[in-house]
Amino acid sequence: MGFCATNDLYGELVRKVLNMKIELPQVGESVTEGVIGKWLKEVGDRVEKYDPLVEVVTDKVNMEMPSPVSGELTSILVSEGKTVLMGAVIAEIAVDGDDEHATDALKEPIPDTLEPSQADRIGTLLKDVSPVGPTGSGGHISEGPVVQRYSPAVSRLAAEHGIDLSRITGTGMGGRVTRNDVMAVVGSQVESDPTSTGVSETDNVEVVPLTPIRRTIAENMIRSATQIPQAWTMMEVDVTNLVNLREKFRLEFKRTHGVNLTYMPFTLQAVAASLKDHPGVNSSWGNNSIILKHRINIGVAVASDAGLVVPVIHDTDLLDVAGLAVAVDDLARRVRDGKLSLSDVQDSTFTINNTGVFGSVIGKPLINPPEAAIMNTEAVIKRPVVIDDEIVVRSIMNLCLTFDHRVLDGAEAGAFLKSVKSRLESIDSDNIV
């Protein structure tokens, strides 16, 4: 009986004293900090496990962080608008005594930093997520984080200049990042920094600080432009049948499915099928290998107020036109509302960029690393074309493809684009398949 009494006392103790520190969980290894958005609970509020606790804005996505435990929110330690590092303690919750997590936590002191295996016990939002760029990462191909130690000088310089050390290739012993490596990056930043060229606000310019998403886009595009040898090709596609089909079913489709019928789902369907025929296009360069992706996850570039984001339609090949239309509409709306989740921007294997909406007829997109190719769909324009030696008016859309020439040659890239073209041109204007 003494044992039971001890247990009761133990439970009482837990109910009375356990204040769990709530940390901002690590979401993806390239995400290092987040901005605390709106707190969804107030101090004193009852919080159930998995209840949304606070909005967090990172350079990748905005998310709602669920509570890792049930209890009472006793303090909010980071106010709205503050930027904090992942892993920082942002709140405290007095945990319910009968919560088994709580008793676990009491038995062992909560460490300041979390080992991955402890993370679920202390409260982590998402586990085992792979790194993402702002425009998707293209699947699980990272080789896992390498434990890297930085000298005091390197750490200080990185902090002073806002440099992400994980992006620097070290030239020191064993790949160590040296002070000179950091200074080289600082030097290149200074060259491109308008504030360092003597331009100030008084010189009829406005210097706008970078948002996290802008900085990440910039870094990704530099990586794309400097590390990937990119070749480009373009084909004209006669989409007259598609235009007619859309006109024919537009209103009915809207009634049936509740979303507008655009050309995008047809393009997605044609691209997904063509990627299956040409797996080399649905791949990544892996230094000593080429990594073919079994899943077809097409990212669709969407302009937002914050910048370009590329939400992903996972397993694009498994959806029909109606399903794709609904998926595209859903993603576009969530981009506008800032409600994308991390999984929405992860694991894309190919990107489509609809520059036609801006009126563009030819464009040369930059590859979204580590994908092997990216395709623009340009504006649909009526043009005089020659068919059977007669000049006729047809609706023409240009498809522009940029591809990683390490992975693909012109032959396979051309065959892929030809395949997309054929599929779009052979659409039956009487039936949506």
Partner: protein
């Protein structure tokens, strides 16, 4: 010394064999004839009394330069120097001072074995109230010695025996002083800083010339003064390169290198880009008598080159 003795009647020299013999290293050659026996005093073979007499003379208005013939025999003077001289100003609330210089040839590389090769700087450098100076070049030796003679407090002036004959350099005839407590950047560089003093400066310069051919740019700082250390120069050079090597002939543990290293890690930690390295004599009680073992004891340019290379690629 000759200039200072001519300039100031209160200055006199004393020590073993310094009179008629002119000093065992001929530092006072001709002094006896020029200044006479009252200002060039041959002493008995008793280091404790040399230091004690100098201490008393200094407290009574004279400016003695006492020579300990070899630094290896300086230990009997500990009581006079550390126990008394270092504390006089402090103990008398500044009303008394000890403007004396103890000159002592020190260091190895001269096949002197256990009793003619030791480095004694840290014993004195540990003691507040003393100044410890160790020049590496003829120019610095003159300027620092003149400053030491004119200093109002006791100075231990250590002259490396090997530099007497090995190192030649221009010494201006005219009057100049080198300020005590100021280090000197003997070579400017960007990649690695080497802090050193005494004979080792010359090995470091040789090593720096070697690695320069590999594109490694070395900054060499001659500490010159071991107490007080020139924190300002030490920190600015350490911050400049972020990589630090300290070279001395004295043994490693609790030596000058340990103090320089501590100053840097206390005050320039965030500028370091590598661990601080030391190249020093080994942890053995004294210089071995065997020439081949002595060569192993003495840090040389090869060891310094290796250490610089390791830091450069770190």
């Amino acid at each position: 010394m000759r200039e200072e003795m001519s300039r100031d009647d209160r200055v006199f020299v004393m020590g073993e064999d310094i009179g008629a013999r002119g000093g065992v290293f001929l530092a006072t050659d001709g002094f006896y004839e020029h200044f006479g026996e009252e200002r060039v005093i041959d002493t008995p073979l008793a280091e404790s009394s040399i230091a004690g007499i100098a201490l008393g003379a200094a407290m009574n208005g004279l400016r003695p330069i006492a020579e300990i013939e070899f630094a290896d025999f300086i230990y009997p003077t500990f009581n006079q120097i550390i126990g008394e001289a270092a504390r006089v100003r402090y103990g008398s609330k500044g009303s008394l001072s000890v403007p004396m210089v103890i000159r002592a040839p020190y260091g190895g590389g001269v096949r002197g074995g256990l009793y003619h090769s030791q480095s004694v700087e840290t014993f004195f450098a540990h003691t507040p109230g003393l100044k410890v100076v160790a020049p590496a070049t003829p120019y610095d030796a003159k300027g620092l010695l003149k400053s030491s003679i004119r200093d109002e407090d006791p100075v231990i002036f250590l002259e490396h025996k090997r530099t007497y004959r090995l190192v030649q350099g221009e010494v201006p005839d005219h009057e100049y002083l080198v300020t005590l407590g100021k280090a000197d950047v003997k070579m400017e560089g960007d990649d690695v800083t080497v802090f050193t003093y005494g004979l080792m400066l010359h090995h470091c310069l040789e090593a720096a010339r070697q690695v320069a051919r590999e594109g490694i740019s070395v900054e060499i700082v001659d500490l010159r003064s071991i107490r007080p250390l020139d924190n300002e120069t030490i920190l600015s050079s350490a911050k400049k390169t972020g990589k630090v090597l300290i070279v001395h002939e004295d043994t490693k543990a609790l030596g000058v290198g340990a103090e320089v290293s501590a100053i840097i890690s206390e005050q320039a930690f965030e500028h370091l880009d590598s661990p601080i390295k030391r190249v020093t004599g080994p942890e053995v009680p004294a210089m071995p008598f065997s020439p081949s073992l002595e060569d192993v004891f003495m840090p040389d340019s090869d060891r310094i080159v290796t250490a610089i290379q390791e830091l450069a690629v770190y």
